[in-house]
């Protein structure tokens, strides 16, 4: 500890603390302008200058560490004068368009000038104006308003890891611009604009939408990925005008493009606004809620009484709240009496989670994602975190850049994290098992202690060579050996994995092997963490609520088969577009066979044409309830605006349907349902927020024997379908903001394949698998590898899922020029 005096008060702080932080501990507020807690100090504005006894010049409090015994003065006439004059200098040639500036009313420059008494201008310089960048998508940059605090550059680099913008030019001409001077081309998370203290970086979608104080603000939770970022909706005239996040949130105010700009899907013309039922001519006709509910309830009763409850099935959604999921399964399992309940989690995440629960005892992730910040070694396996959980990616970047973590990346493609990775293990499609075993072997060979019970596994691993395993995944053995060295012996290890494992062929064996890898690497220890991730916001909550097949009932594929065989006659789709699932051609055929299809959704989707009853639902911004993040934080969302037209929140619809079906009143308010489900779920409250109670930790780990890897499909072309950072699910493909930077799907292929197939960048390419074919625009890129093609899952026009077979997100395809 270091002792010092600030303005006569004695202060004790840890070594390395800055004067600014030390002052804050005793309630002394030193003025700042360029300082931003979440990035490294810049010392640009000089407003925090303080006097230190014995030092002739002023020192900036934000970036000067304390020293034993120093006497700091933060407020003297000389300092006041200097700060005022520095503000006057800052204002030299600053535009006077405050009346129409987006930042007016929430401008730190205004506040600082006012606070520091810069009420007149004594200095002048020749006026030079720099062009405003209207040519950037999503954002607009007016360098004339910029005060060069560098917050945007630092957030872009240190938090987002993107390096899209930097300080360019010299002297008075110094501005923040793109690295190459071309229009901004980045991941458009908007975190730079969010930290801009002035109106220099603004968001186009918000420009001239209103004065900052004129919006109704509510705190809520983001409804895209599972990171569970805390957000604030700013609404006016029944419209969400922007989404922000405070730096004091769990996510440090950092969002991604979906979180910050995805809200424009709320105004999509594809929103469903009225209930509908199929009329006599087989067409969907607008009706009132009463008709829709009674039609659905009546037809369901009819089918159940005729064919039994097993003829009914329901598929839920990771998009809806816990309360809604609870009510959905309560209705189907309790009221209707069918166990045929599932969701897209049945494509792999549910199984992976069950396996984790069996092996370790936890669901969701084993620790909260902030654990990753302090990890010493991180393995990111089979996930593009930028697309599947951006805020988890930010955590990894923070750990790797600021906290000296070693990062091992295992992916079939080069993903954004590559630039932070110490080892980028780009493995051959389908070779995950070999790579997992190779990593285990490398870690053990680097001297990591053998965990109890792993003797048999070790014997199995001893029977294969690292060279052979490495060859199977197409990676130099040396790279894997080095990766092992980076992991072995680390106290705090995080293992993060996602769709490319969870939805791979042989997923069960691979996930089980990853669990064993977690134990060998030590990720299951205290301060470490095992993080299975799903790209949707409430997948963990959905499973917690029991939206999963009952014992001996049908899951997703069983339901589809049941429909095909005619044993299942009614299907309830809540926020689930089955027609866009893998094998979509087959799905559509099945949907057409149903006697009753209830589609409850916020959008016109591909299942809608088959619907008998349509319930228009409310989106997340239009309702309250709770979501459970991937890392088990149960967080409340709050209603910001009304749903469009007659759309209602899913809970209200479900409650009415329940009441109509059973004749007993079901309460539809979220709070009532929460109270109901709280009894059924081990939630615990701390500091006003809910979290699932910690599961019983299993003391002994049962290692799986080394499984035989399926023969690799070398020489054949494989299509991988997955998420990209610009979108989440299909929701954001209805968001104008997202579409402005990522308008359409594409098919990414390696240049060697492009050459051998005679396909040019931008040309049309057709992929055919046993499930169906997909045609799209070719994007030649070496981020994939020879033999591997990639298509984003989000776009309904491309319908990449149409080529997939079963649960797997990768499929063998024939590729030709279209």
């Amino acid at each position: 500890m270091v002792s010092l005096t600030i303005d006569g008060k004695s202060v004790q702080v840890e070594k390395g603390t800055t004067i600014l932080e030390a002052a804050a501990t005793v309630g002394i507020k030193i003025p700042t302008l360029c300082w931003l807690k979440k990035v490294s100090p810049t010392g640009a504005c000089r407003v925090c200058a303080v006097e230190v006894e014995g030092v002739d010049r002023t020192m900036t409090a934000c970036n000067t560490p304390v020293k034993e015994g120093i006497k700091v003065t933060t407020d003297t006439p000389a300092l006041k004068e200097a700060r005022k004059k520095i503000m006057e200098l800052m204002l030299v040639n600053h535009p006077l368009d405050c009346p129409v500036c987006d930042a007016g009313g929430e401008c730190d420059l205004q506040d600082s000038c006012y606070g520091l008494g810069a009420t007149r201008q004594e200095y002048s310089a020749v006026l030079e104006r720099r062009p405003i960048r209207y040519d950037w998508p999503i954002l607009e940059s007016d360098p004339n308003r910029c005060i060069l605090c560098e917050k945007c550059v630092k957030v872009d680099h240190e938090v987002v890891g993107c390096n899209a913008i930097e300080v360019v030019d010299r002297g008075e001409a110094t501005i923040i611009d793109t690295v190459d001077g071309k229009p901004l081309n980045c991941e458009f998370c908007g975190n730079c604009a969010a930290v801009c203290p002035t109106g220099a970086l603004i968001t186009k979608s918000f420009k001239f939408k209103g004065r900052p104080w004129s919006f109704a603000r509510v705190q809520s939770v983001c409804n895209f990925c599972g990171s569970g970022c805390q957000i604030e909706y700013h609404a006016k005239e029944g419209r969400v005008m922007r989404v922000t996040s405070d730096d004091a949130t769990f996510n440090d105010g950092n969002l991604c493009i979906n979180g910050r700009f995805g809200y424009s899907y709320l105004e999509s013309p594809e929103r469903l606004t009225t209930p509908m039922v199929k009329d006599g001519s087989g067409k969907l006709a607008i009706c009132d809620w009463k008709t829709a509910i009674s039609t659905a309830a009546g037809k369901l009763k009819e089918i159940v009484s005729r064919d039994g409850a097993a003829a009914v099935a329901g598929l839920g959604s990771p998009r809806v709240t816990n309360e809604e999921s609870f009510l959905f399964q309560k209705f189907l399992k309790g009221a209707v009496g069918t166990g045929n309940v599932d969701s897209e989690a049945g494509l792999g995440f549910a199984q992976a989670q069950a396996l984790m629960a069996e092996k370790f005892g936890f669901t969701g992730t084993s620790a909260t994602i902030d654990t990753i910040d302090k990890a010493q070694a991180i393995i990111v396996f089979g996930t593009d975190l930028n697309a599947e959980a951006t805020n988890v990616e930010y955590r990894v970047i923070k750990a790797a850049t600021k906290n000296d973590a070693k990062l091992i990346l295992a992916n079939m493609r080069d993903v954004k994290l590559k630039k932070f990775a110490n080892k980028n293990l780009k493995y051959l499609p389908g070779s995950e098992l070999s790579l997992i075993y190779a990593l285990m072997k490398a870690i053990l060979e680097s001297g990591a202690p053998l965990p109890a019970g792993a003797e048999a596994l070790k014997a199995d691993l001893d029977a294969v060579t690292l060279t052979d395993l490495a060859a199977q995944c197409g990676i130099p053995a040396d790279s894997i050996a080095q990766a092992g060295k980076l992991i072995a012996g680390k106290e705090r290890v995080a293992l993060i994995f996602g769709s490319d494992v969870i939805r791979s062929q042989q997923a069960a064996a691979k996930v089980a092997a990853l669990a064993d890898l977690a134990v060998i690497a030590g990720a299951n220890r205290e301060n470490g963490g095992v993080f299975p991730l799903d790209p949707k916001n409430n997948t963990v909550g959905l499973l917690d609520m029991g939206v999963a097949p009952a014992a001996s009932a049908q899951g997703l594929w069983g339901i589809v088969e049941g429909i095909e065989k005619g044993s299942i006659k009614a299907l309830y789709l809540m926020g689930c577009d089955l027609a866009g699932f893998p094998e979509s051609a087959r799905m559509k055929k099945a949907l057409a066979k149903l006697e009753l299809l209830i589609v409850q959704d916020i959008f016109h989707n591909d299942s809608l044409p088959f619907a008998d009853v349509v319930f228009p639902a409310a989106a997340a911004a239009e309702k309250s309830g709770t979501f459970t993040s991937s890392d088990n934080r149960v967080q409340p969302l709050a209603k910001s605006i009304n749903a469009p037209g007659d759309a209602r929140d899913d809970a209200a619809i479900l409650a009415d349907l329940y009441t109509a079906y059973t004749g007993t009143t079901q309460k539809g308010s979220h709070w009532a349902i929460f109270c109901e489900l709280e009894d059924a779920t081990p939630y615990k409250e701390s500091n006003g927020s809910y979290r699932k109670a910690a599961p019983a930790v299993k003391s002994a780990h049962a290692f799986a024997p080394v499984a035989k890897a399926a023969a690799s499909a070398q020489g054949k072309l494989q299509l991988l379908v997955g998420a990209i950072g610009f979108h989440n699910g299909t929701s954001t493909t209805r968001s104008e903001n997202n579409l402005s930077v990522s308008p359409a799907g594409y098919i990414e292929l390696h240049h060697t394949d492009a050459v051998s197939l005679g396909i040019k960048d931008g040309g049309q390419v057709k992929l055919s698998s046993a499930a169906g074919s997909v045609t799209g625009t070719a994007k030649v890129s070496d981020k994939v590898q020879p033999g591997l093609l990639f298509a984003p899952v989000h776009f309904r026009d491309l319908n990449a899922n149409g080529a997939l077979l079963g649960n797997s997100n990768i499929v063998e395809v024939k590729v030709e020029k279209a």
């Binding site: 504005c45 304390v66 200095y123 002048s124 240190e158 008075e172 110094t174 110490n422």
Partner: protein
Amino acid sequence: MAEVVFSSWGRNIVDNRKGGEVKPASFKLPVTYDGERPLSAFIGWDGIILYNKDVDIPVMLAEYMKRAQTKYVCGKCTPGKKGTRVIMDALTRIVQGNGKEEDLDTILEVCELLSHAKCTLCPSCAVPVRDAVTHFRDAFVNYIRGAKSLSKEFTYIEKYTAPCMDKCPAHIDIPAYIEAIKDYRYDLSLEAIRNSMPLPSVCGRVCPHPCETACRRKNVDESINIMVLKRTASDYEWMHERQPPMLPKPKKGKSIGVVGAGPAGLAAAYYLALEGYPVTIYEALPIGGGMVAVGIPPYRQPRHLLQRDIDIIQSLGVEIDYNCRVGKDISLDELKKKHAAVFLAPGAHRSKPMGVEGEDKGYQGFLTGGIDFLRAAYLGLPTGMGKKVFVVGGGNTAIDCVRVALREGAEESTLVYRRSRAEMPADVWEVDGADHEGVKFEFQVLPTKVIANEKNEVTGVELIRMALGEPDASGRRRPEPVPGSEFIIECDTIIPAIGQDADLSFIPAELGIDTTKWSTIVTKYVPLKGENGKDLMDSMGNPLSRTLITNCDGIFAGGDAEIGPLTVVACIGSGHRAAKVIARYLEGEGISLTDDERMEDILSYFGVYDKNEKVSWLDSASREGQSEIHGAERASYKNYCEVELGFVNSQAVREAERCLRCYRIGMVAV
């Protein structure tokens, strides 16, 4: 002797404008800028030096501030970005006849505000401005009152520098690469390094870092750990398996032959290749790196990292012809015919004799020299070493020999030096390292005789104790033998490591290339003279400002063979300069130096660092040191694992935060 009209340099006012008795003032500046044009004035971070009263001070200052603000001010702090602009515009207004007297007050006030700036550049630019407005106020007022300039036209040439950058023989933009680390931009940091230094992994490890002796942070507490920060940037790229981003310009026609793949040759090849020139290096050894590869031990410079740097250079298209000794496998004449230009950088790989009785008898166990011993050890050849090794010398090579001897299996490794430990030319940390590993030292002794048995095997060495005599001309007290103090130490191996020079026998006399008696190659230079009329020399005693072309057209020389045996970084600086001169030569632009190069040389003589400057700063962040492997086993048999481990990145960022960013601008009027 040039007479100073006015000087405020170093806050010491000398004003001879009014006549009367001339007060003398003397500065380490050449009387001419380029051997021809007189140097009329110099302004910079510590004031004004005026030799010619006709220099228009307001105009010069206005120009100085304009260049500072528009070309160098980083814009990263408010006073710097805006304040310098306010001053620049006020000065411009004044010399254009639109100024007011209040402008002078504003200028002084803003100069004062600049003391709050983030770094040193803007406040240091305010110094000559403040001096001018104070001491040449009349000249400004004349302009304000409408007078027109009557003085002659002068050309102004400015140079952006920093004490560390000036002191670095390769003139790396050190503050830039440190600032990039502070911003977590290891890639930009390495880019800044590579602009002047193509062997960053090497100079991040084994550089004697003269820059750190000229670090202004030393005036606060301790210098910045500049070298290890360089290693951090270099290791980051390697540890993250990143591909270096450099791309050469389109291929040019004229090719260059380089003799020697050492630091100078590699540096020249790198910069020429980036310009698009085809380069072939002719290397006598089977490996590249020159003295780094065969002189510096692998526990200080891991060979795979040296090789990585060389591979990167080769990836730009540089060809290296190994095992090709110029003068034996190919003649210099042939090279000259084959290439449009030839750069001689053979290095200094020849051991100097010791001058001891018995050294020429060919005894078994008496090795030819330290550098030969090291070369054999690194190349895996028999070294001829026994179990009790005795090394003579006090430089880094001698230290390397005793430490390598331990790793090659010596049971006893002893170093003898004729002066005291404190006087050893070897780097202190190297001597400490040897001590740590169990090397024995004998100071103030001189070997006098090699002792051998009847089988002509070395059995010992006779030594005599030395005592300090009277100080010599250099002020150093010379050690002198103490009569009767002879004694014998038993050993089976003697390695003389008292220095090396270049073997220039490959240069045929008919080419007309001059060499010196110290076996160095003579190159052409700018005839800069000091106030006393003498030629200006650099710290190695060579002419200060050299073009590196020999007396033979098309043949250039650099590195140890031109400078005299020095350091990796000096050789890299030399190779870089040679590359620039050669490129201009090949483009038909002659071989004269650019303004930037001239100013570089002038400032390095003038001195940018002032060890007496009082630097006001809170000394609350102490210097970070890299961790290292401890214990004698680090020097166990064949253990060449790296001893020093570098920084972890967060430590590097903390260290970078300590940098005061001491940029400054000097400008001459000629």
